[in-house]
Amino acid sequence: MERTTLTVTELNNAIKTLLDREPMLADVCVRGELSNYKIYPSGHHYFTLKDAESSLRCVMFKSSASKLRFRPESGMGVTAFGRVTVYPRDGAYQLYCTALQPEGTGDLQVAFEQLKARLSAEGLFDSEHKKPLPAFPEKIAIITSSAGAAVHDMIRILGHRWPMTKVLLLPVRVQGVEAPPEIAGAIRYANEFHVADLIITGRGGGSIEDLWAFNDERVARAIYASEIPVISAVGHEPDVTISDYVADRRASTPSNAAEIAVPDWHEMRDVLDGFEIRSRQAMQKKLTQLSQRLDAIAQKRVLSDPGVYIDNRRMELDHMRDRLGAAAERKLAAGKQDFVKLAAALDAMSPLRVLTRGYSLTQDAQGHTVRSASQLKTGDRVRLRFAEGGADCTVDSLYEGEAQ
């Protein structure tokens, strides 16, 4: 029987043809553990997939490897996708891998954990590096998409809470491959020209893929390098991104970022009212004390001509009272809306003695002035402030109607 003698190349090619004809091998999906993982300068990845009993040589070309979103490491359990064929030069079959997926969690999750661990080790999340946010920012740079609900929510809430702050929108793409360099570029640009004293960057909710730009190392490093404090506001409450860890402050949503960024108009109105009441009370107390001292002197009759002395002091007091009144008048003229309250306060002041008999201010647990029973409920703790000292009280019962 005559045998055909083949060259090595012919045999290898024959085997290759056989394997290539097998449809099952053209598109395989194989699970194993990565070992001997090597990345060559060419950009190709070489590794072995193995289980307890056998191993399989694999190669992943640069074009496929560049799409990996996590860093494969030896020892990692993975599922590999690709085609099995023969590499004729070595006479060995191998898996030409086109995609790798980490076992258990998704590849994005692994990428996230890896970047988080790396940046954390580098100190990018350290609390010493976090900058305080300005209490009253003059200008806020919002780095997000100019379309979508997030930017409008932020502008609306900022305008409602603190319209004094100017808002500058730096529009960027927030998803897709262009998003990370655009976001990072906008953060650097805002710093270069110091366009604002606070930055908010983020986007509305979406899938982990949609939010991915905020898990990009370039964005993380731009936030870290920012001289201007940064609030990160990505997705919904449970979504946490790398940006959130690096930023000076994390907001749970874009709307929440707007709330964190500026003070509340109504609270500041209350603060001003508090100052007004306290300064008025302090002045009234001062005047009352002086008035009492004059009375005491008058009773002692120790002065050669007490009548004149006391009359003069009373004139001075009247004069001071006029000035106090005039100051308040100016304020009223300036258009202050609480005319009625102020007028009442002045009115209450004219018979000076009456004031020492009782005049108190009620504040709730947050220190807000209580103006109406409707602000309180039974059991609330309130603080009463008198001309001298104060008292902490509990509300027993409430009733409606005008105060007398």
Partner: protein, 76 residues
């Protein structure tokens, strides 16, 4: 009363100082009254800032020489 108009933040800080001084009650009446008048003026200007504030929103664009250029913000 103030030569340079204070910002809202500066006004708050000054008001806090004034009220604390007044509450201590150890100043002569004329000084107290001076402080009170300063405080009243600050309250009026700070209130005015609150009442008249109007939000400004602009879109920032990289203009010539990379300088920031402000454009009107339009709802998209």
């Amino acid at each position: 009363m103030t030569e340079h108009k204070l910002s809202f933040e500066q006004s708050l800080a000054r008001l806090d100082e004034i009220v604390r001084h007044l509450e201590k009650g150890d100043l002569p009446l004329s000084d107290s009254l001076k402080l009170f008048e300063e405080g009243t003026a600050l309250l009026a200007s700070a209130s005015q800032m609150l009442d008249e504030a109007e939000q400004k929103v602009v879109k920032l664009r990289k203009g010539a020489d990379r300088q920031p250029e402000e454009l009107p913000f339009e709802e998209e």
